[in-house]
């Protein structure tokens, strides 16, 4: 069946190779080309990243210098700000939207939406996604969802202010937050995003299962494709749970039901169970593609095969399975049965094992390599470093008694920023690495190096001290730490974090300049500038509509054959026929 599908897909595409002159609208706006849709997701994500970042800076200003005028914000009207002084309700909206935007409109659109779309057909050797029209629909529903989300700031009562976790009953009854349509819009936008991502995941799964090039077996897939395949399955199964929970919340708010309201016989903890049953797989939806990107980049620039390819693939599969049985570790102090706490602690400790395997295998990949410190390599190495810190700090929270103390403190804020904001390092690695393929030009490596070192330094300056705040008991989501006696002595740390965060924000100017300058005036990129093995580098930069010209590539070997013996080059592209003696060795 798989052969039949790919032949059919090939046939239809070959027909319009050559006479595919489409108008502006069909090329740049309502495009069904996976590469253009990938670029659209990238621009959506980068634009949202600026918004989410600015919100973070306003939050940080408030925490360092509570109840002072926030510079440059006097234009923001009541009820958000009063003459530049932030109102507590707006503070709650800001951290709610910072998280919502960064998770749903930055990391997901860029890593899953952009790189999923751009890389899957190119790396498995096909001409486009299985359902190009559905793919276009997926982006546009996602974009509409983003517009709906931003519209929430312009309705009376302001935007959702119950945190991105949106715990009921706080979010289920208007009078508890004073937010009316903001919360409804938040729900509606995420339901739309769920539909967008459902269409995307069906497309990814179908494409990877049915449309791999001849010779591209599952165990010849690059690990980034493995990660996107697993992520698509997680999204397919997890998002309907979120969508159902959001629908229930909307009904509680608008139709008088009581799913989460105890007065009508409902159960507040039900929301947490549903939300985290989606929410924990979601965390792995964000981190698995980052792991995949890192594996590919590390192997390419260490000029060495990935260490333990199968262990890397199987540990991602193990993480995916286990991610369904760890959600309760978000609820150790929620009042659920302590025996459940014990069970979820065990499963959480177990999920740390495949993560450890991945880390050690990355180290094994570096061992004995011939390492090139290119910009994508630096970002991938930094991702490993951040992931190690974020993974290890997770063990504190997994231990139920320790979690009693650090739950809902800055310790958890530090932890998930090392993981999720750490993912942004993999995201930058991916942008620097695939930019030449995506836009046909190289990004400037010197500015890239400056961008990396500043980002790495100020990232750690901004997030590492949060561990100390958390150990000191500093609660998260508070508007003014100086209201508490026991937090007074920690305030200099808050100031240090804020200064680092502003410098981290400023450092991104280097990226923005480099990105747009290279887009129009960067050095033209050759077909395979990094001398990498995977199939996308066999296509022109940027690849034309249909990717491969007349014939599809044929795959002869694995994706990580770097420095193989018997040939002068230190790489052996997947589509290059093998010498007989190498076939025997492999």
């Amino acid at each position: 069946m798989s052969d039949g599908m790919s032949v059919a897909a090939t046939a239809t595409h070959v027909e319009h190779v050559g006479h595919e002159k489409l108008g502006f609208v069909r090329t740049y706006i309502f495009s069904t080309d996976h590469k253009m849709i990938g670029r659209q997701f990238l621009f959506l994500g980068l634009f949202m990243m600026i918004l989410g970042g600015l919100m973070a800076l306003m939050i940080r200003w408030e925490l360092a210098w509570p109840e002072t005028q926030v510079p440059g914000t006097r234009w923001i009207p009541e009820p958000f700000m009063t003459d530049g002084y932030m109102n507590p309700a707006f503070y709650n909206q800001l951290f709610t939207m910072h998280a919502t935007i960064m998770i749903f409109f930055v990391v997901m659109p860029i890593l899953v939406g952009c790189f999923g779309n751009f890389l899957i057909p190119l790396m498995i050797g096909t001409r486009d996604m299985a359902f190009p029209f559905l793919n276009m629909l997926s982006f546009w529903v996602g974009a509409v969802s983003g517009v709906v989300m931003l519209a929430g700031f312009f309705v009376p009562g302001g935007h959702a202010a119950g945190g991105w976790t949106s715990y009921a009953p706080l979010t289920a009854v208007t009078q508890y937050t004073g937010v009316n349509w903001g919360q409804n819009i938040w729900c509606i936008s995420l339901i739309l995003l769920g539909i967008s991502s459902l269409m995307g995941s069906i497309n990814y799964i179908t494409t990877i299962v049915n449309m791999r090039a001849p010779g591209m077996t599952f165990f010849r897939l690059p690990l980034v494709i493995w990660s996107l395949f697993i992520v698509a399955i997680l999204l397919l199964l997890a998002l309907p749970v979120l969508t159902s929970a959001l629908a229930m919340l909307l009904l509680d708010r608008m139709a008088g039901t009581s799913f989460f309201l105890p007065a009508g016989g409902g159960e507040p903890l039900l929301w947490q169970h549903l939300f985290w049953f989606f929410g924990h797989p979601e965390v792995y939806v964000l981190v698995l593609p980052a792991m995949g990107v890192t594996s590919d980049v590390l192997s390419t620039f260490a000029r060495k095969p990935i260490f333990g390819y199968r262990a890397m693939a199987f540990s991602m599969i193990a993480i995916a399975f286990l991610s369904w049985v760890v959600w309760g570790h978000h609820m150790f102090i929620s009042g659920m049965n302590p025996l459940l706490g014990s069970a979820f602690m065990m499963s959480t400790m177990v999920i740390a094992v495949p993560s450890a395997i991945k880390t050690f295998n990355w180290l094994g990949t570096l061992w004995g390599g011939s390492i090139r410190f290119t910009v994508p390599m630096l970002f991938a190495l930094a991702f490993v470093n951040n992931f190690v810190i974020g993974g290890l700090s997770g063990i504190f929270m997994a231990a139920t008694p320790v979690d009693i103390f650090i739950h809902d403190t800055y310790y958890i804020v530090a932890h998930f920023h090392y993981v999720v904001a750490g993912i942004v390092f993999a995201l930058f690695a991916a942008v620097y690495y695939w930019f030449p393929k995506m836009f046909g030009r190289q990004m400037n490596q010197t500015i890239g190096q400056i961008h990396f070192w500043l980002t790495f330094m100020f990232f750690n300056g901004a997030f590492f001290p949060m561990h100390i705040l958390g150990v000191g008991g500093h609660m998260r989501r508070i508007y003014n730490p100086l209201q508490y006696e026991f937090l007074q002595s920690l305030q200099p740390i808050n100031v240090f974090i804020t200064v680092s965060a502003f410098l981290l924000g400023l450092s991104q100017i280097f990226f923005v300049i480099n990105f747009f300058w290279s887009l129009f005036a960067g050095k033209a990129a050759e077909r395979n500038p990094w001398q990498a093995n995977t199939l996308e580098w066999a296509a022109p930069s940027p690849p034309p509509h249909g990717n491969w010209g007349e014939t599809l590539p044929v795959v002869h070997g694995g994706p990580y054959e770097y420095s193989p013996p018997g040939i002068p080059e230190d790489y052996l592209p997947q589509n290059q026929p093998r010498q007989p003696h190498l076939l025997a060795a492999h």
Partner: protein, 219 residues
């Protein structure tokens, strides 16, 4: 990093702190190991002309070792955590003093049962944001909420428990040192979440008796 922990003044707090230190040392050592190995590899195996990377796809023995070692450490940690968790959650000691705390936006309503020791009777006494308890006694907190979820957080007692509307949740502590300790709300509960806090006053035995006499002169 441990010196940043607030002073501990509860009986089980020291068990929690001990686990915290243990995990801190294990994770700290692991981080150092990984970071040193990574930096060493980056220096040793940097690109130099004429040297080719080692062509290897892995090492099964090594991979089995670094699967089993973390697994064993994590399982041992789970069992150690379980012992403490059980002591705090499942094997509560018999209570000497009962207090009912009802959270609402944005206050802690504290109800004392009075001399009859029963909540919901005539001699109950209500206070806002003030918890008075004797030192060295087991205090059982009956935690409720009137509106949204709040979280009863006593940093110095290593105690945190959500208050969930629609149910009563029990939490306990035994203070080891008299004093005045802050009681913030740790779960986002609305625009007044920041600043929602009360105080726990831990009294020495004689002072506590005096406080009881003051509020229930008949007893």
């Amino acid at each position: 990093m441990m010196s940043w922990l607030p002073e501990n003044v509860s009986t089980y707090g020291k068990d929690i702190d001990r686990l915290f230190y243990l995990i801190y040392y294990i994770t700290g050592a692991t981080f150092l190991l990984v970071a040193v190995a990574m930096v060493a590899f980056l220096i040793l195996y940097r690109h130099r002309e004429g040297r080719r990377a080692r062509y290897t796809h892995g090492n099964t023995t090594l991979e089995i070792i670094w699967t089993i070692v973390p697994a064993v450490i994590l399982v041992v940690l789970s069992f150690m955590s379980q012992a403490t968790w059980g002591n705090i959650k499942s094997r509560m000691p018999p209570a000497d003093v009962h207090v009912q705390v009802t959270a609402k936006q944005f206050n802690w309503e504290v109800t004392y049962p009075g001399p009859d020791g029963k909540l919901g009777t005539e001699d109950d006494l209500e206070m806002e944001n003030e918890v008075h308890v004797p030192v060295d006694k087991v205090v059982l907190v009956h935690l409720k909420s009137k509106d949204v979820i709040h979280s009863f957080f006593l940093p110095n007692f290593r105690l945190k428990q959500d208050a969930v509307p629609g149910r009563e949740i029990q939490a306990w502590f035994q203070a080891t040192k008299p004093g005045r300790y802050e009681l913030p709300c740790a779960e986002l509960c609305g625009f007044g979440h920041s600043g929602m806090r009360g105080w726990v006053h831990v009294h020495p035995a004689d002072e506590y008796d005096k406080w009881v006499k003051e509020h229930w002169p008949s007893a």
